[in-house]
Amino acid sequence: MVTAGKDADLPPLGRAPLLALGFVALVFGVLGGLWRLGWAPPLPGTEPATFHGALMAAAFFGTVIGLERAAAYGRWPAYLGPLCAGVGGVATAWGAPHIFSASLLVGASAVLAAVTFAFHRRQPAPHLLLLLVGALCGVAGNLLWLAGFPASEVMGAWAGFLVLTIVGERLELSRLRRPSAGALKLLAVSTVLYLVGAVALPLHWKTGTAVIGVAMVGLALWLSFNDIARRNLRHHGLMRFTAVCLVGGYAWLGLGGLLLPFAAPAGPLYDAALHAVFLGFVFAMVFGHAPIIFPAVLRVAVPYTPLFYAHVALLNATLAVRIAGDLLDRVAWRAWGGMGNAVALALFLLMTVGSVIRARRPAAA
């Protein structure tokens, strides 16, 4: 037996429905995103398009990050977080009353923050503190959303939830390489700047985006030079695949940070800056870690295959087309790039499920 905790954990089979709820939010979020780009996907109403940001950042990522953290915590109450995020996502897509769906998202982020706080209390460490700050950004973003702030003003907190959570996770691994005191200072300054920018954003757009943009560039530089990913490019197989995803993601984060200060609260530059971060950086992290995290959360093997590079390459190429369309004001490029992004996400899901099925099939004699 493996002894990990006193209270009951949710068995992996019970975690799968929670993940499925998150994927409902993802599907409607992506369809809503396509609708915003001028496509006409089948939708139950206008909500998935109107609430695209909440579905993607708060509901989908609230579910998957909540699930990841709950599986590490190993006690059933922690799964109330991803449950709330998943149900909140479905409620958002189906046009349930805002107070209901947004309160569920707030509840989800509060559970995540509580679980992360418990980790930090158990073993105080800078990377756990950063994960806690990321989780609190999620709470702040969802509270602003509940209070009726527009997505463009909540975006700083929602992006902070994801960006700082990822940086916290990478800081944990970077300890294996002993980051220098100077590097840790850059990380601390960039994090504080990010928080200042996220607070400023709802008050003064230009100041908020400028400060967040600088902070994102700082974080991208820190990740590029201190993460073990760059070193892992020399390895083979899964280690190199994960490293390729991450290193590419850091470049997109830097580009997002460079573009954000020039963006208005809507329009092409807004689309370019946000999707450089959310698709280029955050989804690169998802792609790179899926073969590691799926087995840990669901106890299913996701054997690496070089075919995984297909969805990574497609996402990067179509994101480049989309952002080029944004910068050159080519509406068709933006629309087709966005469609390519959606196809890349679908291909990722197919590749992952295909890999799980392949692993379960008995080996040929």
């Binding site: 590490a72 980790f119 073993q123 990377h127 944990e172 300890r175 294996l176 073990i228």
Partner: protein, 103 residues
């Protein structure tokens, strides 16, 4: 029962087959094994993880148990106990692991 049990070195050799998927370094070289106790009760391993917040740690604990279980008949209990004290520090890594990671 003791005569059929493996020695500490054999247990550690089995544990070296379990690696952190992203660091590419095994759990012994990472310094995650805090103790190996072999006796009439079976095999008991005290193991930590690099962070309490990552679910991969729980999976590595299960993999460690499975790796050691291959050394003994199914009737011999193998237990991996997760410990938090003292907290894992990078200095716990072996000299080879540090070199591999670019120290």
């Amino acid at each position: 029962m003791s005569s059929s049990l493996p020695g500490v070195e054999q247990v550690l050799a089995a544990l070296r087959r379990v690696a952190d998927p992203e660091a590419g370094v095994d759990v012994v070289a990472l310094g995650l094994i805090y103790g190996v106790d072999i006796g009439d009760h079976g095999i008991r391993i005290a193991m930590t993880t690099t962070s309490p917040a990552c679910p991969t740690g729980s999976l590595m604990l299960e993999e460690a148990r499975a790796a050691v279980a291959t050394l003994v008949p199914a009737t011999v209990p193998v237990e991996v106990v997760r410990v938090w004290e003292p907290p894992w520090e990078p200095d716990r890594m072996s000299a080879d692991a540090k070199k591999k990671l670019g120290w």
